[in-house]
Symmetry: C2
Subunit: 415 residues, 2 copies
Amino acid sequence: MDVEIMTIGDELLYGQVVDTNSAFMGQQLGRLGLRVRQITSVSDRADELVAALDQARARVRVILMTGGLGPTKDDLTKHVLARYLGRALELHPPTLAHVEEIFRRFNRPMLDVNRQQALVPAGCQVLPNAVGTAPGMWLEDGETVFISLPGVPFEMKKLMSDEVLPRLQTKFKLAPIEHVVIMTAGLGESFLAEKIQDWEAALPANIKLAYLPSLGSVRLRLTGAPDGLPELRPRMLALLPELRARIGSYIFAEEDTPLEVVLGRLLLEKNYHLGTAESCTGGAVAQRLTSVPGCSAYFRGSIVAYDNDLKMSLLGVQADTLAAHGAVSEATVREMAEGARARLGCEVALATSGIAGPGGGTPDKPVGTTCIAVSTPAGTVSKLFVVDRGRATNIEYTSQVVLQQLWQQLKGAAE
Amino acid sequence: MDVEIMTIGDELLYGQVVDTNSAFMGQQLGRLGLRVRQITSVSDRADELVAALDQARARVRVILMTGGLGPTKDDLTKHVLARYLGRALELHPPTLAHVEEIFRRFNRPMLDVNRQQALVPAGCQVLPNAVGTAPGMWLEDGETVFISLPGVPFEMKKLMSDEVLPRLQTKFKLAPIEHVVIMTAGLGESFLAEKIQDWEAALPANIKLAYLPSLGSVRLRLTGAPDGLPELRPRMLALLPELRARIGSYIFAEEDTPLEVVLGRLLLEKNYHLGTAESCTGGAVAQRLTSVPGCSAYFRGSIVAYDNDLKMSLLGVQADTLAAHGAVSEATVREMAEGARARLGCEVALATSGIAGPGGGTPDKPVGTTCIAVSTPAGTVSKLFVVDRGRATNIEYTSQVVLQQLWQQLKGAAE
């Protein structure tokens, strides 16, 4: 069963907003065994939305729309959809009561545009939006299901899990596509491909391999299409020992799990606590580590010492070290990491210092020059590298490299 | 002149990767006066890519593709495009030399799949990729321009600015669309709309207003289409005084600038230094502040005190305060912010403490209970709020609220 995701709004086409909704919806639909055939982002113009609906309808049986349901003038989805399907807009009293209740709760005056959010196309099943004022809508027309959700991510997510996915599950019953994801770090896409060439060539016809590279990491995704035979997933998992034999030392997880979650498990296992001492990453490593629910069991804290004074006063870096080697040096990051272990009271600490750019480079230390260190009870390891891909990417890459280094040291493997 | 952006790869449809390329390309194309008519994400299947190319070709004159140019088996774009346009693949010697040079520089063995990256469709203009192995391609066929770029964001970005945009500028000469962006914080979309209803209704026909809400902030975007009259932009700017008269106290910038950049300017102006003391945000506020190039002129550092011990030892929070009020309390965040000013040596500091969830809530302090404080030489202001929209959103929202509070205090406005 094919689905098309349609995200609506000029802001997407102008690039003023990144469409994160589609990825979330794609993941959720894939788990149900529905295949996203295409993602289409269209403007707020009625004629273009209608043209996109016409084409989507010829491709798929389910069209899942987000956006254009807000209270303001540029929000047209509901009106266009009603006209497109030849339905009148009707007041939905439970939605009106819900909107009124929200405004009462926040003690705000109710506006006429807010009242209009309770209008829905005739014959539509309303998907109640517990966390916002615009309801979701489910409309069937001939063979096609049209679903319209608000574009605000947390409202869309709640409506997807509470309303859309259960209804899709009831309406269509299909053998789910199986995914097996293998997370690797430390080896580029083409080198991985070379190492597993024979293994990849021998995959069964219904199992496809994809390489999903991101900064410093490659996700390998096996996708198994139902072949009528039982136990597709166990057969996919049975392919893994041969994969491990080729690239085992680069695999940090055999499920779709970020490195920071794997690190959390390793730290808990070893009963280690973690802290960070950050300069160029400015808190980005701590932020990534604390994105994990329950991290307070092993994450103690972080000192972001952007200023050299603070590297000395808060982390105990020696003035002599800074004078002799500079803030961006292996000597300094080693003292930062060791200082963080002591000051943050943790067995393991990592440190970063670099020139993220675009300014601050010197002939000696150009932009992108970066040092990292990881200190554990077994000792301190440091590294220097020079890669400049712009400030944001430099920060992200440094965060990835230092977490990879931490993983190497925690799992106790040779570098 | 209409453009279609086409992003290629199963990983986009499965939602395993968020498509950030389209937003970047949309912004860049818009600045040139090109209009993105549609963004289409399609699979790695040749038949579906061909169908999408057929439809795009009927809609637009420029099709800008990313993805599917890597060295591995699932990368099909170049092959499909060559076949679609009836061109053979030919070796491009300068690209081969460039790929060989990259492998020499990194001292890595050159693989056959890497050599194949130097194959391009006959008659194509190669767009040299200085930062990667897959070249960009520019193909003209009849009235249509097909552009194919690698999907790795920093490679795509460099090729866009160095190659694609200059070539588009040369080929098509059009009056650019004008955007004026007004950044607001602290008032929801429908309340803003209500306050500026009369102003919006009086806008000229060729100037459209859009509301782009994000967490705690609404961007207002005026888009002016060329109307044959001179000075479109000055006429758009002349609309702003009347807008300011209605919502001036919520406007933090009259350009498309993030709050953290505006804060940096205010801090520099007042010669203040800033630090953060973070608990629930785990470094996210520092990360946002340090995303700004040149922030070291005013940002000193941050103490992420996840653990209560560290709130005391590093920030000087009193044990009595924690015992009497708990870590998530206005009393504690006030002491955190004031402690950070002293320990980080800065005139201004902010603090966060909350229950980000999903665990850790109590009947008294449910998940989403959050306290923030901002301390300046004029005093310390704190706030408590309870909003739960999931861990990641709670962290992002708290970061936004505390930065908004900082802005309020820096600009010296009444709350």
